[in-house]
């Protein structure tokens, strides 16, 4: 690992000021540290945001659950309040990585990194989340741009993620057998007016599958999507899963998610 300056600011403003084109915000470090160790990324400044108190914590209101950016997966998994309001979100957090990862990794880190096979982005999309930054509020559908790319600007820091509480929801993932990242992850949420089927792992960036969402909006039964064949042309293809296989898994896991609701 190349040497770097380590900063540990106590407030968001200082953190933001420290940032530059050759800096990184460090939360759990579950991706950034391995990347630095492997020499895939080098930074002049590493700005550790874990000591900024206001970035961590869980707040529940009437129609939403707001999770601070540096809240760890293990905290989301074990939160009684989230388990009550959006149990699928706790389930998603409890299925990320292993115990060590869940005790370090954070929701803000996961979203800012926007790994195409990360779990959290699908929850953001399905649960119509609003991403609160130090400058603005961004709707999830406008947040994730492309593989490892979001609309965040230099110095912009995620403070919290606000998830809308759905009527019903479920998360299902087909894990990569080696890394246990999602080869395909389906976050299904039934809101009052719509059904969202958010898909991670299948394409270069998380998306809402319109066909599945539409079919399930009309009839919230797995039979409504049984036998549906999705266009696989934009899907990822690698040594773990071909595009066709992924396309099939999306439907299969969407069915499982409906059945589990």
């Amino acid at each position: 690992m190349k040497t770097f300056n380590y900063h540990s600011p106590k407030d968001v403003k200082t953190a933001s000021k420290l940032s530059s084109t050759s800096s990184i915000f460090l939360a759990g470090g579950m991706t950034s540290i391995p990347s630095m160790k492997l020499g895939l990324a080098t930074y002049k400044d590493v700005i550790d945001i874990k000591n900024i108190k206001k970035l961590s914590g869980i707040k529940v209101s009437g129609n939403s659950v707001t999770i601070g950016a540096t809240t760890k997966h293990a905290e989301v998994a074990s939160s009684k309040e989230i388990q009550k309001k959006i149990p699928s979100l706790s389930k998603l957090a409890g299925g990320i990585g292993d115990a060590q990862v869940r005790n370090r990794g954070t929701v803000g880190g996961s979203i800012a990194n926007n790994d195409p096979s990360a779990c959290y982005p699908s929850a953001c999309m399905a649960l119509n989340a609003i991403i609160h930054t130090n400058n603005r509020k961004i709707e999830a559908k406008n947040f994730f741009k492309d593989m490892f790319e979001t609309v965040l600007k230099k110095g912009e820091l995620i403070e919290a993620v606000e998830f809308k509480i759905p009527e019903k929801s479920n998360y299902q993932k087909h894990p990569n057998p080696a890394s246990r990242y999602a080869i395909v992850g389906i976050y299904l949420a039934k809101h009052k007016k719509e059904v969202n089927v958010a898909v991670t792992g299948a394409k270069s960036v998380v998306y809402i599958d319109k066909d599945l969402s539409k079919a399930l909006s009309s009839s919230f039964f797995s039979s409504a999507i049984e036998g549906m064949e999705l266009d696989s042309s934009e899907m990822n293809s690698d040594i773990h899963a071909s595009a066709d296989y992924r396309a099939s898994l999306v439907v299969t896991y969407a069915k499982k998610a409906v059945e589990a609701c």
Binding site: H174, S179, S242
Partner: protein, 793 residues
């Protein structure tokens, strides 16, 4: 006194290892040490035109940079193939030179080209990036089946062929095939596996400028053998000036048998730069450069009668050696493979033909089971298919062809001393509720799942020795094992063994053996291994040989101790030797019941003489003082564990995911020293075999880049991939050693791949599928099955 041999003694070493107090090579630091980082070939095949180290030499902290030029100039030898195998036409095998640092050409990704020594690891790494190697990249030969058609990798080795080996009688086989009712055929790929020891390879070298002795701490399964090879072939130092220490070693699975480039280079360089050197592999280096396992392409046929009798067997295999032939590289696909390929069956005629090829991939060598998993996979896939095609129950067809009398002269090489294959399979059927399978299959079907059952019966030749046999087959050394037992004056026993424990539990099991033989408590026995300065000599641990060879050397050394003790006790008790019995640690005069404990006798051996009336310990005339004995054991035969495993899998046809629902293993390991340790070995073996069958996919792309070089892409099975293993044992004693023991370390990895694959293929209605049977492959097979079912309907 209750016998310790046979009891479930908890592992003595676990407390130390599980509380982080193990001392591994990477834990060792020597004052003033430098850090080594290797410059490795990024290409699978390339000519090395020029190496420019000038910029790197000037970098911060760099002590020295060495290349293949220097190592060649110092006449340091290369890595070796330990077995000489002859082709069918009588010609000698073709082996390329394998210098520790490649000088003219690089032949696999990761091959060391140069080495940087620096004051810190970071500085060494930074300097490696500044070494400029000018390569002429050539087209690599990657694919096993196509290797003979590729460009010649090594000058003078036509078709990239190391040897074209035959075991058996082609004519007898063809004659038998002509009379067969049916011929069963399979085309198989035995997938390449990366051994993945938890501890990556490492070495720390300390050259003493005063004594001119090199001490090499290294991750080895066989420190004595490593010293021998480095001294005899590497020319690094004479054996008396080279001490090799393999402290705690975190797993080997065969990958730590070889002496590797890094150990030779660092040992040589430490003397050259007169500084200690430390090198620790990163995980990716382990993936790229540890010897890999398996990688066979096989076409095999079995000639059968309509009532399921086996008449003849043929096996045509291409085995991938990787870029170079290493210590067990050439014997693994020949004598460790061919003889076992006829399995546990009476098959009157058989042959195995193996073409071993070089490719631009990591060298392939022994990996848990070495040759025998490949053999068992071949015959057991054939037998299962024969049962299906003939409409005979899979267990019944096996029973019909099992030998029932022992010794059993197996078709090709071995005379199996003992076994009861029928009893093993019967027990496995009972324990797995084989009869109830169809009910479970229907239940799975009702849930939309496909359930399959698979059986595999195996035997294997392990306890690798006997020297007379292995040397006649081409082994470069004898494979005996030695032990020294020291009975200290104050009553403790130190047992020195040439075997090496890197997970096997020798601290416990060897202590059990010695404690029983000497009639002392387990707490006073210490097992010492892993240091060429401690104990006699040894060939190390692989091929399930530690107990059946090394353990017996301990027994024999202990028996020499008792024999001497008896002579001394007779003098002390003033009777003749034949009036004394040794039992439970006491020398007892049968008539008078007067006795001396073995500790008293040991004390007397070190303090011969009389001081007053209370202290009399005379040694018999001509007897030397001391109580230390050595034994070299070389058995008359291999040991032949055997057994039958039965697995049930359930497939979700929508996702292709396989769940191993039940796994039953019934093994015959002869006399069992410690059931707890044996069960651990069987669990580990089965897990590793299931890994090969369902998960582990070593993938090189067409240019020879290993694209599964990390745990992000290479699937190691985890606990949640397995059911609880249901283990049973039958026991027929080995006749080739006094304890009646057989090896157990590799059996699980030998039996489980065909057991699992037979179950998967059964679930898929007989549709063939290659290992690893990953979810996508199975999903595709399920789609094909659905289509053909729809057509049939």
């Amino acid at each position: 006194m209750a016998s310790l041999v046979g009891s479930r003694v908890e592992r003595k070493e676990d407390k130390r290892l599980l509380t982080g107090k193990g001392r591994y090579t990477a834990d060792i630091n020597i004052a003033n040490q430098t850090y080594a980082v290797f410059v490795r070939s990024p290409h699978a095949r390339a000519k090395i035109k020029k190496i420019d180290i000038s910029k790197a030499l000037k970098a911060s902290g760099v002590v020295e940079i060495l290349t293949g030029e220097e190592i060649a100039a110092d006449k340091i030898g290369g890595l070796i193939a330990g077995w000489a195998i002859r082709s069918e036409d009588g010609s000698e095998m073709k082996v390329p030179a394998n210098p520790p640092l490649a000088k003219d050409s690089a032949n696999f990704v990761g091959e060391p080209i140069a080495v940087v020594f620096a004051e810190s690891l970071d500085e060494a790494k930074a300097a490696v990036d500044l070494v400029k190697v000018d390569y002429k990249v050539l087209k690599g030969v990657i694919n096993t089946a196509e290797a003979m058609k590729g460009e010649t990798i090594h000058d003078g080795i036509d078709k990239n062929l190391c040897y074209d080996w035959l075991l058996g009688d082609r004519k007898a086989v063809e004659d038998a095939f002509a009379k067969a009712d049916k011929i069963i055929k399979v085309d198989l790929i035995n997938n390449r596996c990366v051994p993945n020891a938890m501890e990556p390879r490492a070495c720390v070298v300390d050259y003493n400028t005063a004594s001119e002795e090199i001490t090499l701490y290294t991750t080895s399964q066989n420190p004595h053998l490593s010293r021998l090879i480095m001294s005899a072939f590497g020319g690094v130092a004479p054996e008396n000036k080279l001490r090799v220490v393999a402290p705690d070693v975190g797993g080997g699975f065969g990958s730590k048998i070889n002496v590797y480039n890094e150990e030779i280079v660092c040992s040589w360089a430490s003397k050259k730069i007169e500084r200690p050197i430390k090198w620790v592999a990163e995980r990716t280096e382990s993936f790229l450069t540890d010897t890999h396992g398996r990688d066979h392409v096989t076409h095999a046929e079995l000639a059968v009668t309509n009532d399921g009798k086996f008449l003849a067997f043929k096996n045509e295999t291409i085995a991938n050696l990787g870029a170079y032939a290493r210590v067990f590289g050439t014997v693994t696909p020949t004598y460790l493979f061919g003889p076992c390929a006829t399995g546990v069956y009476i098959i009157p005629a058989a042959y195995t033909n193996v073409k071993a090829v070089y490719t631009n991939t990591a060298p392939v060598d022994a990996y848990r089971g070495a040759g025998r998993p490949e053999a068992t996979y071949t015959i057991e896939r054939l037998v299962e298919k024969a049962a299906l095609e003939l409409g005979i129950d899979r267990t019944e067809i096996r029973m019909r062809n099992f030998p029932t009398e022992f010794p059993f002269k197996q078709t090709l090489v071995h005379t199996v001393d003992s076994g009861d294959y029928v009893a093993g399979l019967k027990k496995a059927k009972e324990m797995s509720d084989y009869a109830g399978f169809e009910v479970r299959r229907k239940k799975s079907e009702a849930n939309g799942k496909l359930r399959g059952i698979g059986v595999s019966s195996y035997f294997e030749a392990c306890g690798i020795a006997p020297s007379a046999v292995v040397m006649s087959l081409g082994c470069g050394v004898g494979l005996w094992e030695s032990s020294e037992v020291r009975f200290n004056p104050t009553g403790q026993v130190s047992v020195y063994t040439g075997a090496h424990s890197h997970g096997q539990g020798h601290d416990t099991t060897f202590a059990q053996i010695a404690a029983d033989e000497l009639g002392v408590g387990l707490d006073v026995v210490d097992v010492v291994h892993g240091d060429t300065d401690k104990g006699t000599f040894g060939m190390g641990t692989y091929g399930s040989r530690s107990l059946a060879v090394g353990g017996i050397a301990i027994v024999n050394a202990c028996r020499k101790i008792v024999a001497k003790g008896k002579r001394v006790a007779a003098k002390m008790l003033e009777v003749n030797e034949d009036e004394i019995d040794f039992k439970d640690g006491e020398f007892v005069v049968v008539k008078s019941n007067k006795k001396k404990t073995i500790s008293e006798v040991a004390f007397a051996c070190y303090l011969p003489g009389s001081r007053d009336s209370d202290f009399k310990s005379p040694l018999p005339e001509g007897e030397e003082p001391g109580l230390i004995e050595t034994s070299f054991f070389d058995p008359s035969n291999f040991s032949f564990p055997a057994g039958s495993h039965i697995a049930e899998v359930e497939i979700d046809p929508e996702t292709g995911e396989i769940k191993v629902e039940k796994y039953t293993a019934v093994d015959d390991f002869g006399k069992i020293v410690n059931p707890l340790v044996v069960e651990g070995q069987v669990h580990g073996g089965i897990a590793q075999g299931i890994g090969q069958a369902l998960h582990e996919n070593t993938k090189y792309d067409e240019t020879g880049q290993l694209i599964t070089a990390s745990y992000m892409d290479y699937t190691i099975p985890r606990a949640d991939n397995f059911p609880e293993f249901n283990l049973g044992f039958t026991c027929t004693h080995a006749t080739s050693n006094p304890l009646g023991v057989k090896g157990c370390g590799e059996a699980g990895a030998i039996a489980s791949p065909p057991t699992i694959m037979n179950a998967v293929i059964d679930a898929l209605g007989g549709q063939e599928i290659t290992m690893p049977a990953t979810a996508e492959k199975v999903w595709k097979a399920c789609k094909t099955m659905k289509k053909s079912n729809t057509k049939a309907a």
